[in-house]
């Protein structure tokens, strides 16, 4: 056991600052959303969705089965030609309405996202929900400009698209998927994640409020079996999946030999590279944001920290000091930095990999903090003395755990950063622009941040190299997966 505990030396005690929840209107039970209405699933199966910070059920959620998938496809298929035939500017108007409704209900959505998923309210309020609205706003504006976006004279939608989203950014990922699909004239069937279905169902309500034509969006809550059925169902023209590389691999294999179009946004083990000439305090903030944002439940998390040897001790000291200031606990508290782990299953995965890290000889440090009695929690953790072959340097942990490796030269940094089967993102910290761009060019990663980390924008393409998937979301590049060029 090489665990080292640090006394947190928080200067001030914060009074609890819980966000009010009395304005949130949630039903006791949510069905599946097909043909513009909520209904019971064919097999009448319902499962509770839990608040991971309390383990208490929030609502009963329908679990869609094969018959429901078929019904959703029929509905989406029937609606698609009319949706695509609408004047472009009218499709745009519906998407603008959805963007505005998300903005109007922003705080409610933020609270529900935090209740259902465990992420700090500060993040759902300031990142997830505003970005979701911004994505709808951005792609609403593309709906009548598609030809400009892909440099074509005539474009056509693909048809019916199935979209499977993960639990780490539930509404935001739904927005990333639905907004471009609808803008291009497709109809969509959204499968939210098993542990975080609520905001997708509120989004279905918003589609009703926007008077979106029936069948344009369907929402099928459920589990992995629901998603697997959707992927394999006949009558789907495209699958867009965000989630683990393992499931992505299954989906790609399942679609082999079929004309179904596919985009995958999968896992990562992204390198965050700190050079000796970086502004180190700024870099430390970026490291913290890179790995502890959303409890590390971020596919592009900067989970492999590469530090130049000459500043290794200094950066680790600063980082460890900064980690001691992180406030872990009630996600609804406005001062919370690190909330609850999304599910018992995910907590188990994190604990297994952390144990492997210790077992393989890496040096573990976990901040000392009082964790709530109930719920799923994992305190921010730093591993040093990590070898590139350790599981914690290779496998995606998807939790608040950072593994530190060191390097001597720029070439070694690039070599180590690229030594991964993943290639989603990377961070570069240096005060020298020419060096930053040279390193950025050499990295095999879909997103490279210089002197920042975890920045997202509807205008900027996001997606991975290698086993982090293919296809891009955001900006004009995000239109291509949802349309075909006619001429």
């Amino acid at each position: 056991m090489t665990t080292e505990q640090q006394r947190t030396s928080i200067v001030w005690d914060y009074a609890p600052a819980p966000e009010a929840t009395d304005h949130v209107r949630l039903a006791d039970r949510y069905g599946i959303f097909i043909d513009g209405a909520f209904r019971d699933p064919a097999e009448s199966r319902y499962e509770p969705t839990l608040n991971p910070a309390t383990e208490q059920p929030i609502a009963e959620i329908a679990w869609a089965g094969a018959a429901d998938v078929t019904a959703a496809i029929d509905s989406a298929r029937a609606a698609q030609p009319k949706w695509a035939a609408l004047p472009d500017r009218d499709r745009a108007k519906y998407l603008f309405r959805i963007a505005r409704l998300i903005q109007e209900r922003a705080r409610e959505l933020a609270v529900v996202e935090t209740l259902d998923g465990g992420k700090p309210l500060r993040e759902s309020r300031d990142v997830d929900i505003p970005l979701a609205a911004a994505h709808f706003f951005h792609y609403a504006g593309w709906a009548d400009k598609l030809r400009y976006g892909v440099n074509a004279r005539e474009v056509a939608p693909l048809g019916v698209v199935g979209q499977i989203v993960p639990w780490n950014f539930p509404l935001l990922m739904a927005a990333w998927k639905l907004a471009p699909a609808l803008a291009c004239g497709n109809t969509a069937i959204l499968k939210p994640a098993e542990t975080t279905p609520l905001t997708a169902l509120l989004l279905a309500e918003i589609c009703q409020e926007a008077e979106l034509p029936e069948g344009v969006v369907s929402v099928l809550p459920g589990g992995g079996d629901t998603g697997a059925t959707l992927v394999r169902a006949p009558g789907i023209d495209k699958i867009a999946f965000t989630g683990s590389t393992a499931v992505g691999r299954d989906i790609q294999a399942a679609l082999a030999g079929r004309p179904t179009s596919l985009t995958l946004e999968l896992g990562g083990k992204s390198a965050n590279i700190v050079f000796e000439d970086a502004a180190l305090d700024q870099a430390v903030e970026g490291i913290v944001n890179g790995i502890f944002f959303n409890q590390g439940h971020v596919c592009c998390a900067g989970s492999r920290l590469l530090i130049q040897e000459s500043v290794l001790d200094e950066v680790i000291a600063k980082l460890w000091r900064r980690m001691g200031r992180l406030r872990v606990g009630d996600p609804l508290d406005k001062n919370t930095d690190v909330g609850a782990i999304n599910s018992a299953e995910q907590l188990q995965r994190i604990e297994t990999l952390v144990a492997a890290g210790e077992g393989e000889g890496a040096h573990r440090r976990t901040i000392a903090c009082d964790l709530p009695e109930h719920g799923y929690w994992f305190a921010p953790t730093l591993f040093t003395d990590v070898s590139p072959a350790h599981r914690i340097a290779v496998e995606e942990i998807f939790g608040p755990v950072v593994s530190v490796l060191s390097f001597r030269t720029q070439a070694e940094a690039i070599e180590k950063a690229n030594n991964s089967r993943y290639g989603l993102a990377a961070g570069i910290w240096t005060d020298k622009g020419a060096k930053a761009f040279e390193v950025a060019n050499a990295l095999r990663a879909g997103v490279v941040w210089q002197n920042t980390y975890n920045h997202f924008d509807p205008t900027a393409a996001f997606g991975g190299y290698k086993e982090s998937g293919f296809g891009r979301e955001g900006g004009p590049a995000g239109l291509r997966p949802y349309l075909k060029v006619v001429r």
Binding site: G141, D144, K145, F437, T459
Partner: protein
Amino acid sequence: MSASRISVRKTYKLWIGGAFVRSESGRHDHATRPGTNGDAGQVNIPRASRKDVRDAVAAARKAFGPWSARTAYNRGQILYRAAEALESRRDQLAAVADAAQVDAAVDVLVHYAGWTDKFQAVLGGINPVAAPFLSFSLPEPTGVVGVVAPDAPELLGLVAEIAPALAAGNTVVAILSEAQPLAGLDLAEVLGVSDIPGGVVNLLSGRRTELATALGAHRDLNAIVDAGGDAELGAELDRLAAETIKRARHGDAVASYEMAVADALERIDAVTELKTAWHPVGA
């Protein structure tokens, strides 16, 4: 009771620097409300002066820095807000212009609201230069844009010239339809409640030739967009533009939504500058 109510009439004013003002000259003109006849439909409107033009350009210049510095997303939200505000006053404006014209103007604002964060990617890009440099070219707003609106359609024809300039981040001084200025003056009240900062749009009613030449001659104007349909005035604006190498664009009066968006990129290109930046890579 309601039949005998004495209505409160509106005083039409210029819109300069976010304020509703009478012409500094004190002069006025007459306008007729469409669909009315005789004296009942006659209203007084301000007749702007050359000094009003100069004040408007100064206000637009002052507003340009902050407006162009806003994020593209924010400008898009504000233009969309303007569309919402215009839609909510649809009936009021339909009494002055016609409803189809108002509807098209709303849709044009929505269309250009969508361009604010897209034209950069379409007009600009990365230059794969044959040297170790990151080189990219990005369009930026040219500055203060003068607009000469057509006589008709007085609202759509005006909005179709203003919207691309605003979307690109410019500020505007517009000379309204001389024949039918009321819709343009009403538009000031719409834009005034739509989060468009004061001075970003300035609207002047009066004699087109007098005002347009003063505007075209102003040395602090960057571009002139002429939809007035007067060839002689257009040629004069070109000559004036040459004094300070202003960008000049002439076009027909926009009579439909389709016409306003068909050449959207050309409209935006006409009021932007392309900036190429070079940054070393390695070494």
